[in-house]
Amino acid sequence: MELQNISFDWGSVASEAVLFLCAVIAIVLSAFSRKESSIVQIFAMFGIVAALFVEILCPTIGSGETYFGEMLTGASSFGCFVLVCALLTGLMGFGYFAKGGKRGGEFMAVLMICTAAMMLFVRANNLMFAFIALECATVCLYIMAAWNRERASSLEAAVKYLVVSGVSGCLFLLGIAFIYGAGLATSRELLYFENFTAGMGNGLFMTGFALVVSAVLFKVAAFPFQFWSPDVYQGAPTPVSAFFAVASKAAGIVFIGKIFTFIDFSGGGMFDISENIVFTISVISAATILVGNLGAITQINVKRLMGFSGIANAGYLLVAVAALIKMGSMAFFELTLYFYLAAYMFANYGLFFVVNQFQGDDDSDQTFADYRGMSRKSSLLESSLVINLASLAGIPPTAGFFGKLLILIMAWYAQLYWLMGVMVFGSVVSIYYYFGWMRASLDFADGGERPLRETGALAPTLYALSASTLFFGVIVFFLVRL
């Protein structure tokens, strides 16, 4: 690498820099604070908010420029998205650490590093850089999954994620090696995304490319790399499960969408390859939808159920990716992707906040039975549960419906009719378990012995999430004329 050509555009990574800086300060602060106080957590929350402001005001959004010697592209909407996720996870952390979790300040530090790493991962313009950012995020996720280390379930989740992520990391690295070995460009430009179009006819390159995509599919929890996610979601502390379900999945999907938009399939000889890739992604997404939805039918453990629901949603998102590759246009895709992810974020955090409100620092064995009589105990939690479950099931007027609608429209444009059929089937199946959960909570009979807690900061957050789920869909009418 010709390092002398790299320009250091620190302004372009201001938001990430704020996060890293605050993380370091948070660790130092928590080392000096004697008792388990939440001051460090509050400081960290301010840090995340500051990073969010910097990201919004950051001049690199939408600019086509590259930074650090073409290592990074400009910031995208993903930065804001993942920062909001971090903010919500931090808020949920207050509830979690109030009910018995330990070392809240350090947790926030790790969370911030993870967030920054994910932002860099999605901004990467070079495979090697993407790998380093991804591994940085993954290591943080191991630590966060094992946070409740006195509990076997949390440790089990962390070990499972460690093993699976190790495999995924190896695949990624092997893919990089293959792509490098294909030698399609001069050494400096080998791993840059914009050169990938040239490699589409090369067998070695294609193998490497497939390996990289599979490695990212591991993170997304798409079939056949989905098996880890229900176990990990179940065992990890609830705020971490939420972060896994939303931020980690979103990062993977956005990254996959990004590398495919860099490849220009319109060149004549590559037409067949594009067809094959569309077919492969379609089959993967169909299988993901089926495995996620059919697997969730038998679940009564709510966190496992969210794991399977996450798999199903990864499948729906991959439908959009398949449509994108087929059509080769980006504008509608970006809207669909971020809209769906935002809807998914509101709904998932709305549900995980409810899961987090049960007493005890371990939520891994919560079943439908614990939810009986919830409508009597707390109308706040109940309404949040109903609205957000309806959104995940895709019932109008919630945001989840509009997300599915946009994906279906994209799929029809791309003429992926059979995939639409699978998606409709999956959505109908999903009614059974989402509404099953809802039905359990509507049961007036006694049963849920596990006591609920309502903390002060909870109500505004849940109101905000439910209101977003209900009314966010209206945004679609301002963006597209439907």
């Binding site: 019932i395 109008p396 409709v424 509404f435």
Partner: protein, 503 residues
């Protein structure tokens, strides 16, 4: 004048939602009584606006080509497409308001556990129904229709009758299946025509330049037919309906069986057939045969029912067959008859659900064959029940008669054989309807010693009579003055090319 009518239309749709929003906002300080009175008041606003609009529409139908009372750009600037009414949607809109008001009145006098939530859900559902029939945009029709799903599910899970757990889940799964399949059909129309939006006007405009090919018409109509058919309980997809209606709490059953179920037929008449005439022509015989199964097979199943609520539920499934037959004939007469029957059936089945609930509450008995001789104790209840039964089997003087009559007339030119088979459905419905009346109200008066629970039953109270009178009055009004619906309907349907092809 036109502006004030469109404000009235907006008020009619928004009033129930506003009521629901108020109840949700003031949840902690909302008393049970204020929940009831608030719902009655806001539902009354909807009813009043619908009736005024109906009257205005009747008076001026000649000048209204297409949609009338279209709401202004002020609202569409905020991303909400315009609403409006035409000859097809006007009666449906009015029916939704009438049945909704009756359902709220019935709930207001009933003894319900946790009434605040009950009325909140009922208002969301009614608002959705009013909106579904007032929308001129396909996507918004769909969305408003789906507003009913979660409230019905919650209501069935909390206040439902026997077998509520299974019935609620079955309803949710079937309705979502039907809705999503028809959503794919709607998306197909939008993408294939390349219309600027899901608005009906835009789609018609786009179709004028880019017509849909015969193959796609065939495919898309199939999606709409079977998707919407599931919502309307067309023959092989009907199994959810009877269980749902008999397990749902009364007011929800009234709205569901009376109004919500008509939505699928409404979209077929308003959207699917006019936009996809060739597709409908391809499928019309399949539709007619499946509809005959509804009429005859489900009619026979209805005859075999012992449970009063199940009998009413099955009869409502059976009657939907006739509406499908009217659509299959693809003529102004048949489709107009279907709209009339939808109107009449919505009112009469709501009335029947209400009265059977009254009977079951009083006797504590579901089995019709164990009842008998209630006539002397409850003459008013019996009178209403007999009137409702006669209305639903199509006696002249009620709205249903005109519907069934014109459907059968139009069927003759479609296919005499199908017409003949369909006519047997009327006989079947007479058998089960009159037998129910005979079993419940006629015969020996039960003796106090043998049947203690059938003695000392009180008649309908004054508060219970009001909703029954409202429903019956609407049935009789249209029965004696069918022009109130048919004249605007005729002028709107006769300009649709799909309904004017000679066969």
């Amino acid at each position: 004048m036109e502006t004030s009518f469109s404000i009235l239309l907006t008020a009619g749709v928004c009033a129930p939602f506003l009521c629901a929003a108020l109840m949700a906002l003031f949840w902690p300080c909302l008393g049970e009584k204020s929940a009831r009175s608030l719902s009655v008041a806001f539902s009354g606003i909807s009813l009043a606006s619908a009736l005024v609009l109906w009257g205005a529409y009747m008076a001026n139908y000649m000048v209204n080509i297409g949609f009338a009372f279209v709401t202004s750009e002020f609202i569409s600037g905020a991303g909400i497409p315009p609403m409006g009414l035409n000859g097809v949607s006007m009666p449906m809109f009015a029916m939704a308001a009438i049945v909704g008001f009756a359902a709220v009145l019935w709930a207001a006098k009933s003894d319900i556990k946790n009434p605040r939530l009950y009325f909140l859900l009922l208002m969301v559902m009614q608002g959705g129904l009013m909106g579904a029939f007032a929308s001129t945009n396909l996507l918004w029709m769909y969305m408003f229709h789906e507003f009913a799903l979660v409230p019905t599910f919650i209501a069935m899970s909390i206040w439902g009758g026997a077998g509520k757990r299974m019935a609620a889940m079955q309803m949710a799964v079937y309705l979502t299946l039907g809705a999503l399949v028809s959503l794919v059909g709607i998306i197909a129309i939008y993408v294939l025509t390349g219309a600027a939006s899901f608005g009906l006007q835009d789609i018609v405009l786009a179709m004028a330049s880019v017509p849909i090919s015969a193959f796609w018409q065939y495919c898309v109509f199939a999606l709409l037919l079977f998707g919407l058919g599931t919502l309307v309980s067309l023959f092989p997809f009907h199994t959810w309906a009877p269980r749902t209606y008999s397990a749902a709490p009364t007011s929800f059953a009234m709205l569901h069986a009376g109004v919500l179920k008509k939505f699928g037929l409404y979209v077929l008449i308003q959207v699917a057939v006019p936009l996809l005439p060739a597709g409908c022509a391809d499928w019309s015989y399949v539709m007619a045969v499946l509809a005959l199964f509804n009429v005859v097979y489900i009619g026979l199943v209805t005859m075999a029912q012992r449970d009063l609520k199940m009998m009413v539920s099955y009869s409502s499934v059976a009657h939907m067959g006739l509406c499908f037959l009217g659509i299959a004939s693809m003529s102004v007469l048949g489709v107009g008859g279907a709209v009339l029957l939808m109107f009449g059936h919505g009112l009469s089945v709501a009335l029947l659900f209400m009265l059977s609930n009254a009977i079951v509450n009083r006797t504590g008995e579901w089995n019709m064959f164990k009842m008998g001789g209630l006539y002397k104790q409850t003459p008013v209840l019996a009178g209403f029940f007999i009137a409702a039964t006669l209305a639903s089997l199509g006696l002249p003087g009620f709205a249903n008669f005109w519907g069934e009559f014109s459907i059968l007339m139009s069927l003759w030119s479609f296919s005499p054989a199908i017409c003949a088979v369909a006519a047997t459905g009327i006989i079947i419905s007479a058998i089960y309807g009159l037998r129910a009346v005979a079993n419940i109200f006629m015969g020996e008066e039960p003796t106090k010693e043998l049947e203690p629970k059938f003695s000392g039953i009180c008649d309908l109270t004054a508060l219970e009579k009001i909703p029954a009178v409202i429903l019956l009055a609407a049935l009789l009004f249209v029965g004696f003055y069918p022009k109130s619906i048919t004249q605007p309907l005729d002028s709107d349907l006769s300009i649709v090319p799909a309904y004017n092809q000679s066969k």
